[in-house]
Amino acid sequence: MWLEDAERLRKQDLMLRLPMVNTAGTLGFAPNPRKMPFLDNLGAFITNPISRRRRAPAGNRCSLPFEGGFLLHTGLQNPGISRAITLHKARWAGAPLPVIVHLLVETPDTLAEMVRKLEGLENILAIELGLPPLCDPDTLSAFVEAAYGELPAIVCLGLEQTPALLDTLERLAPSAVHITPPRGALPEDDDRIISGRLFGPAIYPIMLHTISAVVKTGLPVISSGGVMTRQEVDALLHLGVMAVGLGSVLWHVDQGCLFVK
């Protein structure tokens, strides 16, 4: 049977074997089956964020708990794209599941350079574009254009960026959109305000509310944020997301019934 032209699979379409992935920043730069017994339940492994050049950790790195979750401020330490490929390409190639490389986007030119370095590597399923916090629609368009190549591109944006960029995303139609937990801020002991990504169950109701609007665009959606239970996974899948991203629950000693079907 021939597919209609409109339904023909584009080369950049993203296909996941299973509807769960990890969120960038939760499982390191390469899968480690010895440490991560749950890998069989994931449709892909998303790497920690990787920038063009090496990044050192933030001087005031910390994790600040609050009722219902915690804030993580790290500086996104990573070895840079060239070194990351050298260090991890063998483990990516031999991984028991496909790998999505999360790229920290700075400029369209440097993004295109990073994407080219990843093309041709074994077992890379897609790239994920981690947008800068103040990304506007024009810049987003330039990034997606720069990322266009052999690998599907997933646009990864924080919950707080969604309202401003959703119309543009609908027009650009990337391979998928990954909505991640919002950034937040908390006072430290010395009353300095620390900003960072928020994790924990308190995030889930906000995510669920936003995702129900995003799926209506028809874009393939991956939703991360606050998922702790199988029931929460199922609710997102029922809404129509392509996959559910798991974050800090993967750091738990016991994930409970999360992976029980």
Partner: protein, 232 residues
């Protein structure tokens, strides 16, 4: 999927500035001094983070651990991973051991007493501030106790120096020891949050060493002094 280990908190008590407890688990899962148990308490709904628990000095033949979150109660059943991380390794030749608690409770360092005693080592504890009364009562009388100024005046005494401090204070520690720091034999236990417990290389516990950036959760939490002192 592997079944996580479980153990019951049979007692909870205040121990110096920290909340501690007795954890009833098999002896083969007891952490060595400086190692930690990554623990989770299903009874604590606020527990979005795992809690690293360290062995502290306490009741003989029972595992005392600290620091417990405020909400954890006697009777809570914890799920935990086997002991993680690099603990203290006291060289067999050492006969003079100094323990230095730098603005933290000395309770974790004091677990080294048992090991040092088996090799007939003399032990001295240096603290700033002085230990609370309940901790003092748990320290054997053979242990000398003094303040940090006394340690600085006698840095040539210990053959092995074990330190406990917050990672943010590494620079202050380097400044405190000055040039003598490079000649010290010993190890330091770095206190920091370890939210990903070595799974995610999240970077919260990154520490700069002579061999580059290392993670306290997986490469530590105990490091050789020569690795971390006076690293710009």
């Amino acid at each position: 999927m592997t079944v996580p280990l479980t153990g019951k908190l049979t007692e909870v008590f205040q121990f110096g500035s920290e909340k501690a407890g007795v954890l009833d688990i098999s002896g083969k899962h007891w952490p060595a001094p400086g190692q930690y148990l990554a623990c989770q308490n299903p009874a604590d709904p606020s527990g979005a983070l795992i809690t690293p628990l360290f062995k502290v000095i306490g009741i003989h033949d029972r595992l005392c651990v600290s620091p417990l979150p405020a909400r954890w109660q006697p009777g809570d059943v914890l799920v935990f991973q086997p002991p993680q991380g690099q603990g203290f390794t006291l060289p067999a030749h050492v006969r003079r051991m100094a323990l230095f608690a730098f603005e933290v409770s000395p309770a974790r360092l004091l677990t080294l007493i048992e090991i040092a005693s088996t090799q007939n080592a003399d032990i001295a504890l240096f603290c700033e501030p002085a230990p609370s009364k309940d901790i003092l009562l748990s320290i054997p009388s053979m242990i000398e106790i003094a303040d940090s100024a006394s340690l600085l005046g006698n840095l040539d005494w210990p053959e092995y120096l074990a330190i406990d401090l917050a990672w943010q204070d590494l620079d202050r520690l380097s400044a405190l020891f000055g040039d003598q720091g490079s000649r010290l034999e010993g190890q330091v236990l770095l206190r920091t949050a370890m939210p990903c417990r070595g799974m995610g290389e999240c970077g919260v516990c990154s520490v700069k060493t002579r061999r580059g950036w290392r993670f306290v959760c997986s490469h530590g939490p105990v490091f050789d002094l020569s690795e971390v002192l006076n690293v710009a």
